[in-house]
């Protein structure tokens, strides 16, 4: 669905992308993670034909992202980080404009609005909507022409948990119906919830890539945290996963019925990012 090879992009002397490679398979939800300025939005802009790479290759739906962008854009949807809707127009007028531009049925607008609980706002000017509502309108707008591929740039940035949850639910539904999704985010919980695979992007290079499980196992400390019934109540212990000593202790606690809980101490994606890059995602 997406293939990126040795992709580079410079703005003057500043290298935004220093030669990145990745693939996104059909039906996958792929996350590009990284702090602000890592190159996430630049990558999306190249893939959607908005900017030209300095070198390298970007193919989307089997086509060259720059040379064949007119063919690609009919099959892709984009949700930008900042709501770019016509503020004086109503929700309905905004969506109908895009139905007309893509030549799709105006009748579907209501059913989409119903789905994201925005029917009551359909005749409200967009400038009167909350950020979460605008984000839902953007998502509908990107889906009206039923694209095969959806790009989302920080889809829930700055949203309240309830609005973010609604967006997540909708994205998972779309993915279950076969839509391929590429999203950028620096919200690790969101990524863990939505993505099949992720790539950590930092200072224009991909530092690590894989499924969330693969990354967690790769960067795990091989320690476990156990809670046992001790003489003075519940005690917490940090133990190595390997070795005879840990095995003997565990066996003993299980036999005595003292074991209450075990946690495998897998790192979070944020921990892995810190481990790889030496700094936090912000």
């Amino acid at each position: 669905m997406i293939e990126v090879r040795h992709l580079k992009k410079s703005y003057g002397n500043k290298e935004a992308l220093k030669g990145i490679d990745f693939r996104v398979e059909a039906g996958e939800v792929f996350g590009l993670l990284g702090p602000n300025g890592a190159g996430k939005t630049t990558t999306i802009k190249i893939l959607t034909g908005q900017i030209q790479p300095s070198s390298g290759e970007a193919r989307v739906l089997g086509k060259d992202a720059m040379k064949q962008k007119e063919e690609i854009k009919l099959h892709m949807g984009i949700v930008p980080e900042k709501a770019n809707l016509y503020e004086r127009l109503t929700v309905r007028q905004n969506l109908e404009l895009f139905c007309r531009l893509y030549g799709c049925d105006l009748g579907q607008v209501d059913s989409y609005l119903e789905k994201v609980h925005l029917m009551n706002e359909k005749n409200s000017p967009v400038k009167k909507l909350s950020k979460g509502m605008k984000q839902r309108v953007l998502l509908i707008r990107s889906m009206l022409h039923q694209p095969k591929l959806l790009f989302l740039d920080e889809p829930t940035s700055g949203l309240d948990p309830a609005s973010a949850e609604q967006i997540h639910k909708l994205l998972l539904e779309l993915n279950q119906k076969g839509m391929t999704i590429l999203l950028t985010s620096h919200n690790m919980e969101e990524v863990e919830k939505l993505c099949d695979r992720v790539a950590f992007l930092d200072e224009g290079t991909i530092k690590a890539m894989g499924t969330i499980e693969e990354l967690k196992l790769k960067y795990a400390s091989r320690k476990m945290r156990v809670w046992i019934e001790g003489e003075n109540g519940i005690e917490e212990k940090l133990m190595d996963m390997d070795g005879r000593e840990s095995a003997a202790c565990m066996e003993e606690w299980i036999r005595q019925g003292k074991l209450r809980s075990i946690h495998s101490c897998e790192p979070t994606l944020a921990d892995i990012f810190v481990k790889i890059t030496g700094r936090e995602i912000v």
Binding site: N84, Y86, Q93, L101, G103
Partner: protein, 237 residues
């Protein structure tokens, strides 16, 4: 799949829905009508056609350039132009769709100016053909200003020198101010104003002004090419 005509219609409908509450733009249409009515009522000794000439020149230059510059700069500022670029609409369709409403509104204001100036369609063939072509030129220049300006506020900085050049030089040129006349010869609006003067002062008809019309049509073509070049450069920034 939408047709080219369908996409232009979509943009025209959007502009029509949008302009109703866009008071910054609406007020611009009132100014030439108000000024022409003022000249006509309070300075009756003014030469025939001057009040109308001033009104249509203001309409064609100031409204024709200011309105599209604001519309395009707003699209840029609010990042909605990005959405249009990423839609199936081609650049030519975007410009026609966005400029069409300005053009039609200008033609409606032109008819109002003819009526209130008391002209009642005298030299209508000259006035109409010259106004139609020069309006197209102005709309294209206004769109260039909109693309070059960072935001709506800065359209004034980019556009005002141009608006003044295209409007004041023909006015002074018509008063036979030497330098202005010389500069005016490279500006399409000079030929526009000159057509009005020739019609009213010398009673010349449309067939006496083919060269003037040719220059105006040529200017539209050049302006359109420059607009597309700026658009192509800007969309890849």
């Amino acid at each position: 799949m939408s047709s080219s005509l369908g996409r232009i219609k979509a943009l025209l409908i959007k502009e029509l829905q949008d302009i109703r509450t866009n008071f910054n733009v609406l007020v611009m249409y009132v100014i030439p009508i108000f000024m022409t009515a003022l000249y006509k009522s309070f300075i009756p000794q003014m030469p025939e056609g001057f009040a109308l000439g001033f009104g249509v020149l203001f309409l064609v230059v100031m409204v024709g350039m200011y309105v599209p510059s604001m519309i395009i700069a707003e699209e840029k500022e609010k990042k909605t132009l990005e959405v249009l670029i990423l839609s199936p609409a081609k650049p030519v369709e975007v410009f026609i769709g966005k400029g069409l409403l300005t053009f039609l509104s200008m033609m409606a204001a032109f008819i109002v100016l003819l009526v209130i100036s008391g002209n009642y369609f005298k030299h209508f063939d000259v006035l109409l053909s010259a106004t139609v072509i020069t309006s197209m030129f102005s709309i294209l220049v206004g769109m260039m200003v909109g693309l070059l300006a960072q935001n709506q506020m800065s359209t004034g900085i980019v556009g005002l020198p141009l608006y003044l050049l295209f409007m004041m030089v023909p006015l002074f040129g018509a008063m036979n101010v030497g330098v202005m006349k010389a500069i005016g010869r490279v500006l399409p609006t000079y030929y526009y104003f000159d057509m009005i003067r020739l019609a009213f002062d010398e009673g010349k008809g449309i067939f006496d002004m083919i060269a003037h019309l040719g220059i105006l049509v040529f200017s539209v073509g050049i302006a359109f090419l420059i607009l597309l070049l700026i658009y192509k450069k800007k969309r890849l920034e």
